[in-house]
Amino acid sequence: MGQGDNKFRIELRSLLPRLRRFGHALTGSADDGDDLVQDALEKALSREAQFREGTRLDSWMYKIMQNAWIDKKRSAARQRLVVQPIEEDTHAIGEDGRESFDARINLRQVREMMERLHIDERSVLVLVSIEGQTYQQAADTLGIPIGTVMSRLARARNKLLLLLDGLNPTPRETEQ
């Protein structure tokens, strides 16, 4: 092992594949995702002394990456098309009459649709549906109530179906 090896770094190294996947899914770009991973690694090592045993390192890293990406998006103030929130509150499932899942959809389309989600909704969806976190873990990672995890997940999934159905997204001034 190298000079810098210790328990913290070994665990960090083992997380790299998942961190890269998280970065890719969060940013919509493998390159941007890797840049995010690099920034997060630098930040994690600079805060190595702050990390407390018993804290989930994966959640700690996800949180660093998510915050960094939000900061980057805010500073860039890029305009992006996202789907307008459907409803803020809980609502009943609609019956859309669609007969079946569109089998023609490919993985690239899935990634493109993911990019259309609001960052807050995408983060929750990635943590739960891709990274396999429980609702409680996702809530802890993002620092939000578990009820917010549920509502964001529901909105994100509904938006994906709307996009799949070809419904026009509404421009949003900024994504934050």
């Binding site: 002394a49 407390r52 997940l153």
Partner: protein, 246 residues
């Protein structure tokens, strides 16, 4: 029967409902073919998410990540290596001030990993350190090189980072670090153990401006928009570190 909501369906798909809720939802789905089809579409869409990014998961790890992880934990960085931190943002005159002010102890290499929170700090629920009440008072009120209070905090430098946040480099009897005012809270960006007792600041190595690498890395990451001179620092203290036009 209560209404089955989107959140309930979502939680059901993720196995996050109680047995009672599960029964209720399954009855609703069984009673409505259209709802059943919608649930099936949601489930199928969800199952495509992980495969959409599996290529990244299985790709070789870039060497640059390994290089970062293999970096030694503690080594003195000369100020010349720190120059890129300031990215040409500062005038040569200001760099001279930085050389005079950016003086901290060389890190001993030991880690605080398994120790309880350092004096002056407390651990937040997310595992990160934040300044406690006494430390906040010190961070908000002390001038650079000043010392006061039971924590014997010394402020080494005040600056505005690339994001417009006030940051203060500090040291205590046992640690040195950087704290930044974000969201109205002094958050500890980085903290390293110091290898010299408080009050021996004059004995710190100054010849090449050796800087704690974790602080240097933090400054590089955050960017430095402006170093505050004493007058600017005093004004910031007097106004309670209000947001400026930085």
């Amino acid at each position: 029967m209560s209404t089955v909501t989107d959140e309930m369906i979502t939680a059901w798909l993720d196995g996050e409902v109680s047995p009672q809720q599960r029964e209720e939802i399954e009855q609703a789905v069984a009673a409505s073919p259209q709802l059943g089809r919608r649930v099936a579409r949601l489930s199928q869409m969800d199952r495509m998410l992980a495969p959409a990014y599996s290529e990244t998961l299985n790709a070789a790890i870039p060497a640059r990540f390994e290089a970062i992880l293999a970096r030694p934990r503690a080594s003195a960085w000369s100020l010349s290596r720190l120059h890129p931190v300031f990215g040409g943002l500062l005038e040569p005159r200001t760099m001279g001030m930085a050389a005079a002010v950016l003086v901290v102890g060389v890190v001993a290499g030991g880690l605080l990993l398994s120790k309880p929170a350092e004096p002056g700090f407390e651990t937040a629920s997310d595992g990160l350190l934040i300044a406690n009440k006494e430390m906040v008072i010190s961070l908000a009120s002390l001038q650079s090189s000043g010392a006061a209070g039971s924590q014997a905090v010394r402020i080494k430098l005040s600056l505005v980072d690339g994001g417009g946040n006030y940051c203060r480099q500090f040291e205590t009897a046992s640690s040195a670090g950087l704290a930044c005012l974000e969201g109205g809270q002094w958050k500890v960006d980085t903290l390293s153990p110091a290898n010299a007792p408080a009050g021996q600041g004059d004995q710190y190595v100054m010849a090449d401006g050796a800087v704690d690498p974790s602080i240097a890395a933090a400054l590089k990451r955050r960017g430095v928009k402006q170093l505050l001179d004493r007058a600017q620092e005093a004004a910031a203290i007097a106004t309670g570190w209000k947001a400026t036009e930085h």
